[in-house]
C-alpha cells in the first residue's frame, strides 16, 4: 500500500522544478543556521544546557504549572485550562463573545493551527485576520501553513504575486518581495486598528514570574497585544521554563536555529495585562500529558518549534510540509503525530533515519531515535508483518537464504520489467534494478579458495 505522505508529496510538489525550488528555499535557512551556530563558540554547551533545563522542567512540570498559574494570576492575568482542541475553541469563543468581539488580529501560533481555532471562530461569525505575513498568505490562499516558521515557504514569488494581485489589488505580475510586503502591511494596518481582540501564541512561559514570552520578526504580535483591550494567549502546557534567567539560553538558540538571526526582531515579555485591558492565558493539553506520562517519548515535549529539524530534513524538503497532513510537519511533526492524532501513526516511517535532525535540534531531542521507537511500538500492517516474519525465517537458515538468492537471480530478468504484482514495482518507480550480480559472494569466495581466483 502506498503511504499517504508519498502520495501527498507527488501532489504538493508536483514536479522536479517545484521540488528544487522548495528544497533551495528551505535549505537556505539551514545554511544560515550553520553560519550563526558557528559564531557561538559555546554552541554545543548551550544545547546541552537547554536540554538539561527542558528535562528538568518536564520532570517537574506539575510544580511549575501551578507556580506559573499562581504568579500569572497575581499579576492580573486569568489562566484557563483546556483539555483538548475543542476545549480551547470553546474557551476562546466564550471569551470573545463575552467581549462582543467581531474582529480578531491573530499572530502566528502553531497551537491554534493544531486546534483548528481559525475555522471555528469564522464559523461562529468572528472574523480572524492572520497578521504574520506568511500566515496571511496561506490564510488568503485558504490552506494550512507548510512550515512552522515560514508558513508559505512552499509558494513561489510568482504565486504570491498573483494572489496579492487578486486579493489586494497589487499590479499584475508584481513579484518584488519588498513591494508585496508593503502592500500586505498597508492592508494589515487597517485591520489591526479595527481589531477588538488579539490572539497570540506563546513561545515561552516563565513559572517564577507568571510571564509569557512572544517572539516574532514582524512585531505583529506586539500590535495585536497592545491595540485591542483583550489579549488571548494560547500555549501548550510544555512551554514553561523555571526562571527568568533561563530564558536567554533558549532565546540565543531559538532564532539562530530558526533563521540564523542572533535573536528574533521582537521578543516581548508580558507579565499581566496592561492598564485597562484583560489578559487571558489558555493552557492547552490536547494529548501532551499522555506524552509527558510516557518516559520513552517525553523528550519530544521539549521542542521550542525552531524549525531547524525541518530545514535540515531531506525528506521534508523533497515532500513539502503539506504532505505530512498534520499541524506540524517534518521530523518533530512525525515524532509528535502518533501521540497527537491517530492519522499520524504512519509518519514515523517517513524518514531515512539519516539523523541530521537530531544533530541540529537546539534542545537535543533524540528525534530519529524517537521515530525508531515509534516504529517498534506502533502496530505494523498485517501484510508487512507477515512478509517480515517470512524473510526472517529465511535469513535464519543459510540453506534457505542461498536458495532464495538463487531464485532471485533466476527471476532477475522478469523483476526488471513492469507487470502487475511485480514485487520490485516500488523500486522500479524511479530506478532501474541493479545490474545482474552474477554468482553470490559465497560461491565466488569458494572458487577463490580453490585458487581459481575471482
Amino acid at each position: 500500500m502506498t503511504q499517504a505522505l508519498e502520495l501527498a508529496a507527488r501532489r504538493t510538489l508536483p514536479d522536479e522544478g517545484a521540488v528544487t525550488r522548495h528544497d533551495g528555499a528551505v535549505f537556505d535557512l539551514r545554511r544560515r543556521r550553520d553560519l550563526a551556530a558557528a559564531e557561538v563558540p559555546d554552541w554545543e554547551a548551550l544545547r546541552e544546557r537547554a536540554a538539561a533545563l527542558k528535562t528538568h522542567t518536564l520532570d517537574h512540570l506539575d510544580t511549575y504549572l501551578e507556580r506559573f498559574e499562581a504568579r500569572a494570576t497575581e499579576a492580573g492575568a486569568v489562566v484557563h485550562w483546556a483539555e483538548d482542541a475543542a476545549d480551547l475553541r470553546r474557551i476562546a469563543t466564550e471569551l470573545l463573545r463575552a467581549h462582543k468581539v467581531e474582529r480578531v488580529a491573530k499572530s502566528k501560533s502553531m497551537l491554534t493551527e493544531e486546534c483548528g481555532l481559525n475555522a471555528h471562530l469564522e464559523s461562529q461569525g468572528i472574523h480572524v485576520v492572520d497578521t504574520d505575513l506568511g500566515e496571511r498568505i496561506v490564510q488568503l490562499q485558504g490552506e494550512p501553513p507548510s512550515h512552522i516558521i515560514v508558513p508559505a515557504i512552499h509558494r513561489s514569488r510568482a504565486e504570491i504575486g498573483a494572489l496579492f494581485h487578486e486579493r489586494m489589488g497589487t499590479p499584475r505580475g508584481e513579484t518584488d518581495p519588498e513591494k508585496l510586503t508593503r502592500a500586505a502591511r498597508r492592508d494589515l494596518r487597517s485591520r489591526f486598528l479595527s481589531a477588538q481582540a488579539g490572539i497570540t501564541g506563546v513561545n515561552f512561559a516563565v513559572a517564577e514570574t507568571g510571564s509569557i514570552v512572544v517572539c516574532t520578526n514582524e512585531g505583529n504580535a506586539d500590535l495585536g497585544m497592545s491595540i485591542p483591550r483583550l489579549h488571548v494567549a494560547c500555549m501548550g502546557l510544555e512551554k514553561l521554563v523555571p526562571r527568568m534567567e533561563d530564558l536567554p539560553v533558549f532565546l540565543r538558540l531559538l532564532a539562530r536555529s530558526a533563521t540564523g538571526q542572533p535573536i528574533t526582531a521582537y521578543t516581548s515579555v508580558v507579565t499581566g495585562p496592561r492598564e485597562g485591558a484583560e489578559l487571558h492565558i489558555i493552557v492547552v493539553d490536547n494529548g501532551r500529558s499522555a506524552l509527558l506520562a510516557d518516559p520513552g517519548h517525553r523528550s519530544a515535549l521539549g521542542c521550542i518549534r525552531c524549525g531547524a529539524c525541518l530545514n535540515t530534513c531531506p525528506v521534508y524538503r523533497r515532500a513539502g510540509g503539506h504532505a505530512y497532513e498534520g499541524p506540524i510537519p517534518g521530523p518533530i511533526g512525525a515524532v509528535l503525530a502518533p501521540a497527537l492524532h491517530p492519522a499520524g501513526a504512519a509518519l514515523p516511517h517517513a524518514s531515512s533515519l539519516c539523523g541530521s535532525c537530531t544533530a541540529v535540534c537546539p534542545v537535543r531531542i533524540d528525534l530519529h531515535d524517537q521515530l525508531l521507537a515509534w516504529r517498534r511500538e506502533l502496530p505494523r500492517p498485517r501484510g508487512e508483518a507477515l512478509l517480515g516474519w517470512l524473510a526472517a525465517l529465511v535469513l535464519r537458515s543459510p540453506s534457505l537464504y542461498r536458495l532464495a538468492g538463487r531464485l532471485g537471480r533466476l527471476s532477475w530478468p522478469i523483476l526488471g520489467v513492469r507487470f502487475p504484482g511485480n514485487p520490485a514495482a516500488s523500486w522500479l518507480r524511479g530506478r532501474k534494478l541493479p545490474r545482474h550480480p552474477g554468482a553470490s559472494f559465497a560461491s565466488r569466495w569458494a572458487r577463490r579458495g580453490q585458487g581459481t581466483g575471482p
Partner: protein
C-alpha cells in the same frame, strides 16, 4: 591480524565484488581473512522496520557466529553501526561478551585508517571522484562529521584513503545530505526517495564528478538505479573496489 569478514546480505547477493575487494585490501594490509558462509543478515532491516522479535533473533545469531574472531570487518557503515550501537535496542548484546564483540566490529575504512593507521595502499584511479558519506557511518560511527556539525568536526577515514589514491581528483560538494536510500524507506516512499537521490546526482554531475564512491553498497545501488534510469550523474563505485586498483589489483 586474524579478521572475520562480515558480508552484509546485499553484498552477498547483489555486489559480491565488493566483498572480494574488501578481502583483497585486508590481505594487502597484512591480515588473514576468514569468511564463514553460515552468515546471512545482521538484522538491520528488521530493526529499522520496528520488527524487534525477528531482529533480535538475527542479531543473536550474528553475535554467535562472529564471537570467535579477534576482529570483525564489514564493508558497510550501516551494518557496522547496527551491530556496534543498535543491538541494545533489540535487547541483544549487552552481556560482556556481546559488548566486547560489538566493540571490535569495524567498518572497512575506519579499520584501515584508525585501527591499522594505514591510508596508502598504492591504489590508482585517475578520475574525478565525489564521496557519499552514508548517514549511519557519518553520525552513528563518527566517520567524519555531517555539515550541520559546525563545532568539533571529525576527519573522514574514507576521504583520507581517497586522497592517497594515485591520479584521483577529489570532488568536494557543498551538500552532504542523505541519498534517499534509507532501507525500507526507499520502497515505502519511492518518489521522495528518488527526489533525494536525483538531487545528489545532479550536484555531483554539476561538480564534474565521473564517479561517486562510498562505504555502503545499499546507497550506491539506489544511486546506480536512479542514474541508469535518468541517464545522468557519476557512476557509483564502492570504496573497496576503488581502492583495489593499481598495486592492489
Amino acid at each position: 591480524m586474524e579478521v572475520g569478514l562480515f558480508i552484509p546480505c546485499y553484498v552477498e547477493q547483489l555486489s559480491p565484488e565488493v566483498g572480494l575487494a574488501t578481502a583483497r585490501l585486508l590481505e594487502v594490509a597484512g591480515c588473514t581473512v576468514h569468511y564463514d558462509p553460515q552468515q546471512t543478515c545482521c538484522g538491520q532491516p528488521f530493526l529499522n522496520m520496528g520488527a524487534t522479535a525477528s531482529g533480535a533473533k538475527l542479531a543473536r545469531r550474528h553475535l554467535q557466529l562472529f564471537e570467535r574472531y579477534e576482529t570483525v570487518v564489514c564493508p558497510s557503515g550501516s551494518c557496522t553501526a547496527t551491530v556496534r550501537h543498535r543491538y541494545p535496542e533489540l535487547g541483544v548484546g549487552e552481556e560482556p561478551a556481546g559488548r566486547a564483540l560489538r566493540a571490535r566490529t569495524f567498518e572497512l575504512s575506519e579499520f584501515l585508517v584508525n585501527q591499522l593507521s594505514r591510508s596508502h595502499f598504492g591504489s590508482e584511479f585517475p578520475h574525478r571522484v565525489a564521496l557519499l558519506q552514508s548517514c549511519h557511518g557519518l553520525r552513528d560511527l563518527g566517520l567524519g562529521s555531517g555539515s550541520e556539525q559546525v563545532h568539533g568536526r571529525r576527519s573522514s577515514p574514507a576521504e583520507e584513503l581517497l586522497l592517497a589514491v594515485r591520479g584521483l581528483t577529489f570532488v568536494p560538494t557543498a551538500r552532504d545530505e542523505c541519498c534517499g536510500f534509507g532501507g525500507t524507506f526507499a520502497v515505502k516512499f519511492p518518489e521522495v526517495s528518488a527526489r533525494m537521490g536525483r538531487a545528489r546526482l545532479r550536484e555531483w554531475a554539476e561538480a564534474g564528478a565521473e564517479y561517486v564512491t562510498g562505504t555502503d553498497v545499499s546507497c550506491l545501488l539506489h544511486l546506480d538505479g536512479l542514474r541508469r534510469k535518468e541517464g545522468f550523474g557519476p557512476e557509483p563505485i564502492h570504496l573497496a573496489e576503488l581502492l583495489a586498483t593499481g598495486d592492489v589489483a
